[in-house]
Subunit: 158 residues, 4 copies
């Protein structure tokens, strides 16, 4: 599978994302990923003509998260860059993989810092009908153009 | 490995744990797990004479989360029950497994509702020295008395 | 006006309520007040036969908050006690006043600690019709039995 | 007193700022104000040569908030504009006033939307010494250049 260029969502930190250890709290990383999805989905599905509504309003449910923390992140005024792409497409859902790094990390010499690597499994959902739903052809087409490898987790324990 | 009886932490929901879909938000589940650890660790390590300080103040860092959402949870006044136990003990860290369910679920006839299953990998950390640290014998003894199976995830995708 | 006995809502802190200063964050105090209202309103309006739905689901909108912080509050396992009562009744809304203190503070000798004093102005709202609404007689009766003085702010600057 | 031009901080909303009513939650407005202060203080005190550290690290404590909600705010991808200025200077603290509106609201014809008006009382604090502290001359000079009117609350009830 050829890795496509990940989508780069820039997400601002909030001072309150820090916990009593004065680091960005581990749970808040998931919050940042949520925002990255909101930013990316608007772009991915608008571009495909599927419309913003199809995924955010109708919408999607998270059925699984996996996240590996690589290095502590402190508060800073500059946003983080969250690179994200589609890592699996199924009949009624898909996975998104993420790398949390610095903006323009790919332009800098040397290895960019990786704060976290994560993957989310999403299920398509029809909120009006309160039931899971199948993926539409235009949604699949949009997702396929974003398809890449699985999340580069450092280790799988089992 | 014989499963020990899990520790049951009762964690109150907050109205604000709901998101715009009027369900307890998936990220807030991790917040509930954080609270369950705070409640359990106080008990586990006090009981072992290791003191509350050893894990919460000195403390521990989360290095990985994995969570599988099983069914939606709405807001309610009654707390949820989070059953948690130790699922791995290493030289410088350990894992905690969780089941999010209803209080006294084990007393009710039939299958208790499972809202989520999760597992967290923790690394021991010396905040004063800003470095990882080895597990102390009294910490190990306390954790061993809580040791059980891995988290009962429904499926491992790879 | 005779002060009625305030309603005492016990609200659990979360470890994440602390900010990078390792104190319960000032904004989180408002979150604790929200939970105190949810707890109290259920009791107040159920007792009056108005039902839980009338205020939380139909519901109420916050139109103003005022809060005065008296002393820092650290994280602790024991809940705080939030004493609250009705401090104004209008035709389409009412005010709630609060004192954030310790459980059983009134039983202890000496002056109980006061962490914060606050007041919230609420507007009755019909979410189905998306419009403000008038207070119903049974709601007024319930509120009148909870009516007390204005919030005991230390100073009004203007 | 001549009103200076307010400082305009652009703060991004998060999807999770919405509550179960699908509006930006009233408590989250205070969170947005916190971020606006973090953005503004960096600029105000750096510009005055006082350094970022003087207020955020040493730092300041919130001793009072007052906020009036004017109209509901839904989630949107574009940031809100928070206009803020100094509304009182004392010997050991100062007040900040805010208007939450839309970016470039001042450029648009007609009356710009006002989502909320607020005011915060801050006390200077020496975290190292764990005590209140007096305002330094360079801090005062910086604040005086930002001084304006009190917050334009619609009504004062008492």
């Amino acid at each position: 599978m050829t890795q496509t260029t990940p989508y780069a969502a820039h997400v601002s930190l909030r001072w309150s994302d820090m916990d009593a250890y004065a680091h960005i709290n581990n749970v808040q990383f998931l919050r940042l990923l949520e925002d990255a999805r909101v930013i990316a989905f608007r772009d991915w599905f608008d571009a495909a003509g599927a419309g913003d509504k199809s995924l955010l309003d109708e919408g999607v449910l998270v059925s699984r998260h996996e996240i590996e923390y690589r290095r502590p992140l402190g508060f800073r005024h500059e946003p983080v860059e969250i690179q994200l792409w589609v890592s699996r497409i199924g009949g009624a859902g898909f996975d998104v993989a993420y790398i949390v790094t610095d903006p323009a990390a790919s332009d800098a010499p040397g290895e960019p810092p990786v704060y976290a690597v994560a993957e989310t499994e999403l299920a398509l959902y029809d909120f009006a009908g309160a039931s899971p739903r199948r993926m539409r052809p235009e949604e699949r087409a949009s997702l396929e153009s974003r398809l890449g490898d699985r999340a580069p987790f450092r280790r799988r324990k089992r």
